[in-house]
């Protein structure tokens, strides 16, 4: 761990005295890769969610315009079980809810991946801190289910 810190210090000092630094030369290679993975996960989650939301909205309005009786918009699924059973029936509101759940889970996925990335760097202190954040997030999901 200490060796890693020294790496970074040397790197930054070398860069600033040298004066010809370019943005692509910062920190050890390991940090670099972690930045990229996190970036891909965040982007992927947002795109997947947006896709589901657009598809679900299109399906909903096709049903409203051409599908006889419009679904009751005040009744929407708000538990994982409801959403999954709604998806099985092709319910557009369940597809929208699924898109929102994917969005909600994107930061969670980012936290989980960070734990692995820190573990690969043998940075156990930050494996601990990031795991704590994950546990807090899991508790929040359980709390939501408990309180109505």
């Amino acid at each position: 761990m200490d060796e890693r810190l020294d790496d970074e210090r040397l790197d930054t000092e070398g860069q600033s005295t040298d004066g010809s630094a370019n943005g692509s030369m910062i920190g050890p290679q390991r940090d670099y890769q972690m930045d990229r993975i996190i970036s891909v996960v965040l982007r992927g989650g947002v795109l997947l969610s947006a896709g589901l939301l657009i598809f679900g909205a299109a399906l909903y309005f096709v049903r409203v315009l051409w599908g006889g009786a419009p679904p009751d918009p005040l009744v929407f699924p708000h538990s994982l079980g409801d959403v999954i059973s709604g998806l099985a029936h092709g319910d557009p509101l369940a597809i929208l809810a699924m898109g929102l759940i994917v969005l909600l889970l994107t930061p969670v996925a980012r936290v989980i991946i960070s734990i692995f990335a820190f573990a690969r760097e043998r940075d156990w202190l930050y494996v601990g801190i990031t795991t704590l954040v994950l546990l807090i997030l899991l508790v929040s999901f359980l709390l939501g289910r408990g309180g109505a």
Binding site: D35, A50, H78, L104, S140
Partner: protein
Amino acid sequence: MLTQSPLLFFFLVLLASLLAGFGGSLIGLGGAILMTPILTIFFGVPIRLAIGASVVSIIATSSGAAAAYVRDHITNLRVGMSMEVATTLGAIGGALLAAVTPTAALYVIFGLALAVSALPLIRKFSEELPQGVVNDRWAERLRLASSYPDQRLKRIVPYQVTRVPLGFAIMGLAGLLSGLLGIGSGVFKVLAMDTAMRLPLKVSTTTSNFMIGVTAAASAGIYFQRGDIDPLIATPVALGVLAGATLGARVLPRLSNTALRAIFLPVVALIALQMLYTGVSQLLGH
């Protein structure tokens, strides 16, 4: 609600969110904080459903923007991860508190938070590159000091971090407001990093953005299961704010900052006043 037609409602909310996301990203306020007032004032959406929809859009814009900043290596991941312990705990508290807070009080607190968030529009409250900062005990232990490539200065800027416990406490408060009001509370997070911990401004703002998504996720889970996230409201808000913010980030470098502030500041001030007015008149029972 403003309209009986769900199709018209959807597209009007989508359009309003697009504008809020666009304008919000240009002035650095974030479009989500404008959406709750717009939904309640213009669309007659109950404030709890408006907050639920905003929470979701915060996650979308934060994740989208953070993806770009993290790739540019400006974000301090260690500061972000450490401080997320405080913001997520605060967010859970805020989301639980929201269930028992009277609607009128929500309006008032929202108006105040919006007014405070708009303060940096009037005057930057910090120096770009803080001088003479020395790591405190916690910064040493958590190895928070780092460096980032500054585009404008064209060099790598090393920095140290101080007053970590104070920053942590402010972060907890930022999380609480985020969970209570469904806002990103980026201004409060920047306040913690920039004013308390004295990180460079660019690192503070990008790291704040990075943390907003996780903070919002902690309260969004509670809002979702409570039934406060209506897909037919949250969907156009999330899509609109996301598209608007993406567009805003594209044109931002080509626009003058001071002109933008002159245009948006009165709008934001007016919205904050309207929220305060609604809350106070409800408190007084009209």
